[in-house]
Structure formats: C-alpha cells, structure tokens
C-alpha cells in the first residue's frame, strides 16, 4: 500500500493506482475527456492535470496516467491547476464551441465563452473532439482496427480507411458507445435492457437467458461477443471481480458412477399446429397454455399484462380445454392438469384484463383438495363455461372493426345448440405428452413404456416409483401426466426409496441369475441385445459378454437365445438340473 496526500487528505491506495482513481476514491472530481475506465490511459486531453510536489517545485501531470507514489503531495484544485485546465478547455472551446461536454466542464470552471476563435471552428454539437476513445476502443478493446486517426496536427481526424466503409468493422458499436459527443452514431437498434423474448436473440453479447433462469447466471452469446469475432475485448473478464467469466468454457461430458438413477425427464407439451381447426400458428392471438403463462409472468415480455398482438387488452377470451387430450386422433388419456390451469387462466385473465371469459370443456375435472371450491369461485366471478368441444376457430368477418377478432364455433351440449362466440384471444390448453426422447432414454435404462408412451412403473398401486429394473426409479410427468403436488410427492417417495437402499449399505440380489461360461462365449452379443434389463455388457478386451448380477433378473431370455450355449442360469446348469433329477428319481 502507498500513502499519499491529495488536497490535504491522506489516503492509502494499492500500488499502481492512478492519481485519478485515488482522487475519485476520495470523491474529488477531476474532469476527463479522453479517459475511459476500460481503455488504457491516453493522457491526451490534458484536462485531468493535477499538481504534484517535486523536489524542483510544483509540476502539472495528467492524473489519468500518473501512478501514485509513496509520500506524494497532490493538489487537484489549486489556482495553478484550474488556470491550466481552464485554458486547455478554452482552446478546445475555441474550436468546438457547442459541444455539450466541453460546455459543461467549462461552466464548472467558470468559463463563459472562449476568448479565441480557432480557424477550424466547428459549430456542430456533435463535433469530434479527437479524444481518441473510439479509435482506442476499436483497436485495443475490440481488436478490429476499423478506424484510426488520419493526418496529423491540427488536421488530425478520426477516419475509416479512405473514408469508405471499413471492411474490418464488425458493427459492434463500441466506438459509438464510448464517444462523448455522439459524433459516431450506431444506426442499428440498441437492444440493451430489452427482454430476450422480444428479440428472438440475446439482447447483448452477455445476457441472462430469462429473468428467472436457474442457475441465475449470465451466459455469453458467441455470435455477438466481440471476443469470438476478433479475439480481443474480454473487458467482462477485467471488470468481473470474482473472475467468473471464462471465454474458454465449452460443453463437457462428465462420467459419474452411481448405484441408482431417478429418471425424471419431464414431458413435452402437445403442439396444436396439426389441429388445423384451432388455427394455432395461422391466426394471431391464438396461444398455447404455456405461452399465456409466460405472458402472465411479471418478468415476461408484457410485464404480466394480458395484451393482444396490437397491444390492446382483449375484450373476450376463449379457453379451449382438452386440446390433444381425450382425443382419439391424438392422445386418449386425460392430461389431468388442464382443467385446473384453464380455470386459473379464467380467473387471472379476467382479473387483469376484465375480458369476458369462455371456457369450453368436455368434463370439468376438479378433483382433490380445494379444486372444486376454486371452480365454484371462478363461476361466481362470472366466467362462462360451455360444455362442448370447439369445432373450429376462424377469423371473424372482414369488416374493419372486426379485423383481428376471432370466432369460436362449438356445440353447447347442455343446451344442445350450435354456437358461435366472438373473442379476441384463444387459449389452447394443450396436452401433456411424453418427451420426444423418452424412447431413447427408456432403452438406455431398460425401462418399459405404457401404450401412451410414459414410463411404466413396477406396479401401479404397490410400487408406483420403482421400475422393473432394480435401482432405476421414475417420478413426475415422465411416468404420467400429473400436477405439481403429485410430482413433488412422487419425487419425494422415489428419493426416500433410494435413500433406504443407500442407508442399508448393501443390496440383496436374487440368486437366480444368468452367467457366462467364458470359454464357450464367442462374443456374438446376441444376448446383450435381447436382455430386457440391460444387464449384459460386452468386454472388448476378452471378447466375451459379461452379466451384471445386480441387474439380472434371471429371466432366462439370454440362456435360451445363446447360440453357443455359453449362457447358463447360475445354479441351473444342465448338469445341476440333471443331478437334481437323478437325486429325486433315485428316491
């Protein structure tokens, strides 16, 4: 640490700290033009001069560049300093009388109007004051070197080569960002601070994927990050105090050895596009449930307001239940959660927009604790419920007033009439369906799937979390559609089952299992392909198959299939069975 005195105040700073930083730390203001915290000091505007006591007297030095030294005595506001600053500023004002930042500093120094007029007087407010920030940002930080100083002396200017569009410009906008006078303007839209949902792209090169991202850390977009284009910049690394930014990080595969696995891969939502009658993706203001959920989120694109595409609130909203569920053409099962979230939408949308709500249902399934009560409440709030399947969603008329409005056609089965209901927005409560990759995952873990595609538990009543393979458990919508409380309960149950095994410390296995007689095994791998429990693996070094006795259930499929007779049941070889038979027959 270094001790020095600035304006009579003694302070301690780290070695290498510039006078400017030390002064700012003490809340002493020093005007700067060519200084930027992320760019190396240039010491060219000379506005930041301060007075330092030397053995030969007081010396003016640029504070942005000179480092603190032990015992230094610095004065930042002496009449000498102020007079020098004022004159330097006056010289600049003589050339650029209308640049706001110069005028601001001049006003602070009590300078009204410059006494001189430069022969190169430039009246523009956004004149270039040759601070060089843009050139240095482009060269040092970005590494593109698209602009440079041209000419010299009084004729110095900032320019692209031959004043033509520069080929090496990567349009990062850094030059415009640092320009103190807006001489350089960035013509593309500035996306900073806007939510990514609006842009279909990250808003900046380093961004938060969503407002509620887990884990809540920013990530780098390789396509917009300057570093990945020029190899330069990395200013985020410099300013990140914990040193958390790492440009070299790439996706990696980690191998972990485990004894048990809980398969909870979740679900996909049904894509209603194929149901052409609902016009999803074809007409505006037709949304899926998850999309509306995002809209209702207070950190979402509309800040939680319910809005139409034209930015106005809807006057009437139709909520269609059982989209893809309970449908012979798509999924025969009931997705279980739609009725309740549809009622939630009915409640929330009405509350936020005051719109008329129409729910179209087949059967209202509000079973369980408090759900039926919620249904009654929504009804009391004035939501319309219509029992009947929606036939189609169409554009309502062609008149100007009705432009954009939608028409829902359905049969009201309770009154037995065909109805057409005009709405502004349609919410499709689409089905829960198995994950696209459920089949691969199932094969990986040797899991069976029910006809609807969800993973099959060992027993629907007695063992709803285990699978046919020991040590593999399922929970959540991977096993079947369910709501959050059910998922939590099932997950806890699965976890408890796994903990039980761990706490026991050992696993009991059935003595009935298959075994390979390696001397006969030809390594044909017929067995491993057939094993329903993935218990047989192939040992490449010895070119034989091997049975994992913890996984093997002793079903015997492999024994029967083995063409060379190498696979036998443990304790059930032909010789043993023959001996047993002989023993029995001998009696």
């Amino acid at each position: 640490m270094i001790r020095l005195t600035i304006d009579g105040k003694t302070t301690e700073v780290e070695r290498g700290t510039t006078l400017l930083h030390a002064a700012r730390f003490l809340d002493i203001k020093i005007p700067t033009l060519c200084y930027h915290p992320l760019i190396k000091p240039f010491a060219a505007c000379r506005l930041c001069v301060v007075e330092v006591k030397r053995s030969w007297g007081m010396e003016l030095v640029p504070s942005c560049h000179v480092a603190c030294q032990e015992g230094m005595e610095v004065s930042t506001g002496s009449s000498h300093v102020l007079a020098a600053r004022r004159l330097v500023l006056e010289l600049m004002l003589a050339r650029w009388p209308n640049v706001p930042i110069l005028r601001k500093y001049a006003a602070e120094l009590g300078l009204e109007k410059p006494r001189f007029a430069s022969p190169l007087r430039d009246e523009r407010e956004d004149a270039c004051i040759l601070c060089g920030l843009c050139v240095r940002a482009c060269d040092e930080v970005v590494g593109a070197s698209a602009i440079s100083f041209a000419e010299r002396g009084i004729g110095r200017r900032v320019a692209t080569p031959f004043n033509l569009e520069s080929e090496s410009c990567i349009a990062c906008g850094a030059c415009a960002l640092v320009c103190p006078t807006s001489y350089i303007k960035f013509e593309a839209e500035d996306h900073r601070g806007k939510p990514p949902e609006f842009l279909l792209d990250p808003n900046t090169a380093i961004y938060m994927p969503t407002a509620q991202a887990v884990p809540k850390v920013p990530s780098i977009d390789r396509d917009s990050c300057i570093h990945f284009q020029t190899g330069g910049c990395q200013k985020c690394v410099e300013v990140c105090e914990p040193g958390a930014v790492n440009h070299k990080m790439v996706d990696e595969e980690i191998e972990v050895e485990v004894g048990q696995v809980l398969v909870a891969i979740g679900y996909d939502t049904f894509d209603p596009t194929p149901m052409a009658q609902y016009a999803y993706g074809r007409l505006d203001n037709v949304y899926t449930g998850l999309e509306v959920e995002r809209m209702l989120n207070s950190t979402g694109p509309t800040g939680g307001r319910v809005l139409l595409k034209n930015g106005k609130p809807p006057r009437a909203v139709g909520i269609v239940h059982c989209v893809g569920s309970r449908d012979e053409n798509y999924h025969r099962y009931c997705s279980r959660v739609c009725c309740m979230y549809a009622l939630k939408f009915a409640h929330v949308v009405k509350e936020r927009s005051g719109a008329e709500i129409y729910n179209f249902y087949i059967d209202m399934r509000a079973f369980g604790k408090g759900y039926e009560e919620f249904y009654s409440r929504v009804l009391n709030e004035g939501a319309n419920v219509i029992r009947g399947k929606v036939a189609e969603v169409v554009q309502a008329g062609w008149s100007k007033q009705k432009e954009g409005a939608l028409l829902l056609r359905c049969e009201d089965t309770l009154i037995g009439r065909f109805r057409e209901i005009p709405v502004d927005m349609v919410i499709l409560c689409n089905a829960i369906e198995p994950r696209r990759d459920a089949e691969q995952v199932g094969r990986l873990f040797g899991l069976s799937r029910s006809p609807d595609g969800f993973f099959l538990e060992r027993h629907p009543k007695l063992d709803p979390v285990a699978t046919m393979t020991d040590g593999i458990f399922v929970a959540g919508c991977a096993q079947g559609p369910k709501d959050i409380p059910d998922v939590v309960a099932q997950a806890c149950a699965a976890a408890a089952r796994m903990m039980a095994t761990i706490s026991k410390g050992e696993v009991e296995i059935d003595p009935v299992r298959a075994e390979v007689m390696e001397e006969y095994c030809s390594g044909c791998r017929v067995c491993s392909a057939l094993c329903p429990y993935s218990a047989i693996s192939y040992v490449a070094e010895r070119k034989v198959s091997q049975v994992n006795s913890a996984l093997c259930k002793g079903c015997g499929t492999c024994v029967a299939a083995c063409p060379s007779g190498a696979m036998t049941g443990y304790g059930f070889t032909d010789r043993q069975i023959n001996a047993e038979l002989e023993g029995v027959l001998a009696v």
């Binding site: 033009l33 060219a44 110095r156």
Partner: protein, 600 residues
C-alpha cells in the same frame, strides 16, 4: 608502396551539392594523365564541417586546405601543387579580416579552435572503407570493452566521463544505461536516434556520412554494457547519402565479424538494422521514434514508463542520439577521466554545433563545453558578414530560444542555456543580425512546430495553432496588446501541459523572444512597424530615383520580377512602385543589384 600524397576530397551532402564528385573525377583523370596514380591517392571523405565553402579538399601530409574548387581548377592545381610543389594560393581560404590566404587547415581559426571527439575522423578517412576507420584506432575501444572490461566497468567508465545525451535533453548517459541494465525483460535493445529534424542542425547527418563506424562502434559498446542483442538506427530518409554510407558500413562491419554472432571471437552477439524515417519531426521524440520503428504513426506516449523499462516492443531500450554514440569509443579508449577533464562542472566533453545563418563561416564545429558564445561566433564563426550588427543566436532549434547580444559571454552548457530560456537541443546555432525580425523568427519556429505537431494532445494541437494565429496577426500588423497577453498565457500553459517534448518546448521561441525582444513586439503592435523590415505587410517600398538612374540606368530587373506588375518605368529612367498595386513581397529588394529599393 604507400602514396606520397593523399587528396582528401569532401563528399558530404553540402559539397556533393556543390559538385564535388565532378572535382574528384577531374582529379583522378588528371592524375592518371600525368602518370601519378601510384604516388597520389584521391580519397573521398565525409563532411568536413566547413560546408559554406565547398567543395573542399585537404592535401595531406602538408595539410593544405583548398576551398570552392571547380573541375576547371584541377589541371592547374595538379601541375602547380602536386607536381611542382607550389600550393595554389587563389584556391585557399581567405579570412575576411586579413585578406591573406591561409594555406593550412590548422591555421584557419574555424578549424584550429575546435576540439574533435565526435568528429575525430572527419575529413581524415574514407567513410566507405572500414580499414581506414580501423587505422585510426577504430574498433580498438570495442576490442578493449570486449576483452578487458566487464559490462559494469564499461558503465562505470561512461559514468565517470560525465557524458550527457547530445540529443537535446542532456540526460546523463551512464545513468540511462544503468536503468536499462537493471530493467527486467529480455531482449534489450539499443537504438540510435538519427532523426535529426531540427531545422538548422546537421551534425548527425555529418557524423553518419563522414564516420558511420564510430556510431556503430558506440552502439556495440553500449549493447555490451547493457546486454543487448539487437540495435536499430533510425535515420531520416531525407539524408540519402547518410543512409547509403551507413548501409555500406554495416555491411563491412558484418564482413569483418564486428557485427553478427560471436563478435571478435569473444562470444558477444549483436546486430543492427536500419529504419528509415518517413518524414515527421516528432519522431525525434524517443517514444514517438519507437512507435515509428514498430511501424505505427510516430505519436509520443506519456511517460513513465521510460524507454529503459518499456521501450521497443515493450522491452527495455537504450536510446541515444548519433553524436552521443560517436562519443563513446574515445571515452572507452582514453578513459572516462580523460573526457571528464574537458568541459564544465556539469557538462563534460565537447559538443558539436552547426553554425548557420548570418555568419561568415557556416559549418559544423566541435568545441569544449563552457566555451562562450562570443568565441564561437567571432573566433570560430568569423563574425557576422557584411558589417552588420549581431543581434541574437537561436539555439536548440524549434525547441530552443533566442539568446540576445547581452548574453554573448555566456559559457555554453546545458544549464546555462536552460537558464537563459533556451536549450542545448541537438546543437543548432542560427546567428541573427540586425536584419532579422525576432517576431518573425518566433512565428517561423511556431509555424514549424504547429506543422509538425502530431495532434495527439489538445494543448499542443490547438495551442500551437492559436499562437501561430496570434503571431501571424502581429506580423501582419493587426496585433493588439490583448493578443500579446493571451500569447504569453497560452504559451505558458502549452509548455506546462503538453504531452511530449515537442509541445512543452514549442513555446520556447515565443517566450524567449518576448523576454528579450519585447520592444520588437511592441513596435509591431503599437507603431505597426517591423524594425528589421522583415514582416512584409508592415513595410513600404520605394525606389530611390537617383540611385536607380545613376547606378542602375533603370535596368528594369525589378519591373520584370515584380509578381504584381506594380513597378513602372522605362529603361534608363527612374522606376517607381505603385503602392496600391504592391503586395509587399519584397522581390524588388532582392533582385536590385544597386540597392535602389528602399524599405521603410
């Protein structure tokens, strides 16, 4: 078989411009014609320093000095002097005071009062033959440094000598080397600054042209002392002859194994590359020079860090000017103490000055520090020509200042010049007489620095422009007293706040002229008159009819040359200037052979 006579024909830039190669060729032809080629050797040497009198030739061993030769003098000269042994008087130097020719070089005060260290070989060797340099103890210092001294001892010797940088600032060379030696980082570099941009100074050109090996040897010794492997000579491209001779010298040194790997079989490796300047005065500033060598625009950067820590390619770098490097070998050869006995307490040794302007003996002189201005100007320089009155001497080029007549007994060293408001600079000395206008001089230098400013820092870029504006107003007769105050204020702030030496010293010519010649400024502003009649806009021109007719017979040269056709008159009749047409260019004054044009 040695020759009995050596003709040392100067082939410096000045003499070459005066057709010295033709003289040399004529000599060779004539000598061959007379069958003397085995007896007389013609040697082309570098600049002799006495550039105003070229082409020059010194005949050795007698030391006869001939000047202003032309090829048609050659047959007579060979016949009379080289064959018959009668030196030709009409080709000798004639001092203006005595009018008796001085045959011997050493009889001429211009030469006899000098003490040559940096210029020790000038005129004595052929710069394109390394053997001749070696014959004059060349590379002996290197051999000594490599075989008998440790780097530390070399450093000590330089420190004892008290040698200070000859480039201008006068930083102690030994201390500089020590900084580089102690600095961390490899490799280290040595650089020779040959970007001699000061108008009116040409000692570096002269040294490289007449004795390039002395610079190479100095750099070799410096490199040994600080542990450098590579060196760079940065030299102005405006000096083609110097570049060419340097290239030849480097090639010869490489052939002899004095550059390259394992120099003189001592295991020391060093080599030098040449970087040609592309025309920017500011590149004389050390950090700007490094920037230029690295292939970037020559913009200075703020110091610290010094070059000793962060120089070429970010590595420790030792940068000295041509003259400083040339001073090193004699110091190692003769010992630092020998060097330190010359000069004054704080400024040791000798300094080369280029004596130009209104002076009889124009040229390069090397004198011990502490010599007075009077000795240089009157004893060596032969005083001001045409019986005019000495007014001031400008030292240090655009960074320096004007020293007035009152201070003519000032002993010259770094400190005394600084005290007088000027500086040593690279050693330019421009003598000014009563016909020189000091405001115009200030304006001239400012126009120079304004034009050469790199434009990086605001005070220098805007301030020099503004000061130039004000000075132009004053010399045009539109100046006010407020202008004068503003000028002084701006000058002081520019000097204090500029980024590099160019800016901080740019106001020196203004400040010193304002200090010593304020009356001239006041005359321009108050009376709208230029006392020296230099500022043309303040002059009026008229033709004395009597002189015009009687002496010139109305010759009409002025009428023909006048660009504005403002002069009227018939042949044999008095001419007159029409003041309404006259643009005050003053051409008529220059062309009139009879001094009939009167400037008022």
């Amino acid at each position: 078989m040695p020759h009995r006579m050596h003709l040392m024909v100067c082939a410096g830039t000045g003499c070459v411009a005066n057709r010295s190669p033709e003289v040399r060729d004529a000599l060779v032809t004539e000598i061959a014609k007379r069958g003397l080629e085995n007896e007389i050797q013609v040697v082309t040497t570098g600049c002799n320093g006495f550039c105003g009198a070229g082409p020059l030739m010194v005949v050795q061993p007698d030391g006869i000095f001939y000047q202003q030769l032309s090829p048609k003098d050659v047959p007579h000269l060979v016949e009379e002097h080289f064959l018959k042994g009668r030196p030709v008087q009409k080709l000798m130097y004639v001092p203006p005071e005595t009018r008796t020719p001085l045959p011997k070089m050493m009889d001429i005060p211009f030469f006899s009062r000098q003490r040559l260290i940096a210029l020790r070989n000038r005129g004595l060797i052929d710069p394109e033959r390394i053997e001749e340099y070696i014959a004059r103890d060349g590379y002996a210092a290197l051999a000594k440094a490599l075989s008998q001294m440790t780097p530390q001892q070399i450093l000590e010797e330089v420190k004892i000598s008290g040698l200070r940088g000859r480039g201008g600032a006068g930083f102690p060379t030994g201390a500089k080397w020590e900084h580089v030696l102690k600095a961390e980082g490899e490799p280290k570099y040595v650089i020779c600054n040959g970007d001699e941009g000061d108008p009116g100074a040409f000692m570096d050109r002269s040294i490289v042209e007449s004795d390039p090996h002395s610079v190479i040897e100095g750099m070799l010794i410096g490199a040994r002392a600080i542990g450098a492997r590579w060196g760079v000579v940065y030299i102005r491209n405006e000096y083609p002859l110097a570049v060419q001779r340097l290239m030849i010298a480097l090639e010869q040194a490489r052939e002899y194994g004095l550059l390259g790997d394992n120099i003189l079989d001592t295991g020391f490796d060093f080599d030098i590359s040449v970087s040609r300047g592309a025309g920017a005065f500011v590149c004389g500033e050390a950090t700007a020079l490094v920037s230029a060598v690295e292939g970037r625009p020559g913009e200075p950067r703020a110091r610290p860090p010094r070059l000793a820590q962060h120089g070429l390619w970010g590595k420790p770098t030792c940068l000295n000017n041509v003259e400083t490097w040339a001073d090193v070998p004699p110091i190692i050869n003769n010992g630092g103490a020998w060097y330190a006995q010359i000069g004054t307490e704080k400024s040791k040794g000798t300094k080369v000055f280029s004596l130009v302007g209104k002076i009889n003996n124009t040229g390069l002189v090397e004198v011990p520090m502490g010599i007075t201005l009077r000795e240089i100007i009157y004893d060596i320089g032969g005083g001001v020509p045409g019986g005019k009155k000495f007014k001031a001497v400008q030292t240090g080029g655009p960074s320096g200042g004007c020293i007035p007549n009152e201070l003519i007994d000032l002993p010259i060293d770094f400190e005394s010049l600084a005290e007088a408001g000027s500086m040593m600079g690279s050693g330019g000395m421009v003598i000014m007489d009563e016909d020189t206008c000091m405001v115009d001089v200030a304006r001239y230098f400012l126009a120079f620095t304004q034009d050469e400013s790199c434009g990086k820092c605001a005070p220098c870029r805007e301030g020099t422009q503004l000061m130039l504006d004000i000075l132009t107003r004053i010399t045009d007769g539109h100046g006010t007293m407020e202008d004068l105050d503003a000028l002084e204020e701006v000058a002081k702030v520019v000097a204090e706040t500029s980024l590099c030496g160019l800016g901080t010293s740019a106001p020196n010519p203004v400040l010193t002229t304002m200090r010593y010649f304020r009356d001239e400024y006041l005359a321009h502003i108050g009376a709208h008159k230029c006392p020296a009649h230099v500022c043309r806009q303040l002059n009026t021109y008229r033709i004395d009819p009597a002189i015009c007719v009687e002496r010139g017979h109305g010759c009409g040269v002025c009428r023909r040359e006048c660009p504005e056709k403002a002069i009227f008159g018939e042949k044999n009749q008095a001419h007159r200037v029409d003041a309404t047409l006259c643009n005050k260019c003053g051409t008529c004054v220059d062309v009139c052979h009879f001094n009939a044009v009167i400037v008022e």
